[in-house]
Symmetry: C2
Subunit: 225 residues, 2 copies
């Protein structure tokens, strides 16, 4: 054991419980009792619950950014004089995402955590992720920009987020959906199977025809704030 063992026991238990129930709904007593560790250990080793949450994310995202950067390096080396095709970029991202939790036991946990990071309040988390991992995301979007030169910038921005929603929503709610699918269609869906299904959909969505230009005169309703 490189780490004090108590630390990793806490992290292992915390990530599972967080993924199952969310952050606010998971108490430190839940974590420490299931990890068979003293309650005070969390505050001793991590300082606070917030810091524990961030540590859980870092354990996934640090290896991810590392791998993703090198994967993009290789990709750029292979396409020195032409742009990297969109399919290649998406494929690389998918492969990297799938590779990270292979060491650990669950991609599902990783995805649930990402979904929670977006949907739960936890402002500190969004800030932490933005600061820590915004750079690699910016690099990726820049490559996507080069791969889709015909798309207006704003349109590409929105479509990327549309697809982000697709992936995170589907994979983070996978268990519930999998149950329904298994019941109605007698098929057991694996994560890799879902990624296979996602690929053509995402590509088609990114390459969809542009929406009609906005008509003047029609004033939008005021749903601000």
């Amino acid at each position: 054991m490189a780490q004090s063992d108590t630390v990793s026991r806490i992290l292992d238990t915390a990530e599972v419980l967080f993924a199952e129930r969310g952050f606010a709904e998971t108490s430190l007593r839940n974590i420490t009792s299931k990890a068979r560790v003293n309650l005070a250990a969390v505050n001793y080793h991590f300082g606070s619950k917030k810091a524990l949450i961030q540590a859980v994310f870092s354990r996934y995202l640090d290896p991810f950014t590392l791998r993703f950067h090198t994967a993009l390096d290789e990709l750029e080396a292979r396409y020195t004089d032409s742009h990297i095709p969109l399919e290649e970029l998406l494929e690389t991202m998918a492969t990297t995402v799938l590779a990270v939790p292979a060491e650990r036991n669950s991609l599902k946990v990783f995805m649930r955590l990402l979904g929670l990071a977006y949907s739960q309040a936890q402002g500190h988390l969004r800030r932490h992720i933005q600061e820590q991992y915004g750079e690699v995301f910016a690099r990726f979007t820049e490559l996507v920009r080069q791969a889709t030169p015909d798309l207006p910038d704003s349109e590409r921005f929105w479509r990327l987020h549309f697809m982000l929603g697709t992936v995170i929503f589907t994979l983070s709610g996978l268990d519930a959906l999998r149950d329904i699918a298994a019941k109605d269609y007698q098929e057991q869906v694996t994560v890799r199977d879902l990624v296979r299904r996602l690929r053509p959909v995402v590509v088609a969505a990114m390459n969809a025809p542009l929406p009609p230009a906005v008509e003047e005169g029609h004033h939008a309703n005021a749903n601000a704030s």
Copy 2:
């Protein structure tokens, strides 16, 4: 006031706070103090916090299902001998979704709530929504099935949920995204504008080519449970 006024003050305040911070993060004291109502009023009028959460949803979803059923009735009346085109179905759904919170003040709140219903633990909520509003959703998916006869059932199931993820994720996280978009692309995005952008993307995604058949022999990794 048709209702006791206390009841609607609670609901008005609760939906906003829930949408902003989630269910667990919003206490009854938050709600009652902001609504300038006695703490015990929630338990008196609704019975429990869980029941209050469900009541907040019902106030949006009951009118929605009503409108959506009649909208689908009209649609079916217009297409007695041919199938309703997919575009028409999506258009109708979008229109109905947009119509509901027009009476109230915020579509954003409605979408945030839907997003929370999926991502937060709150098992009772998912069950309540499923039982109460599963029927209209089933009717819609059946019409989508008739509109896309070439799509295998399981494929359509997943693609519908992909698109559900797109819409809920985008519209429920709209505020944050809108800020970024406004900063980077100097454009002020309205909800209707987003729906306009969503339409071609969703249609293209639903009509995307089928994924390649699974190769035998490649055994998927065991990411179960």
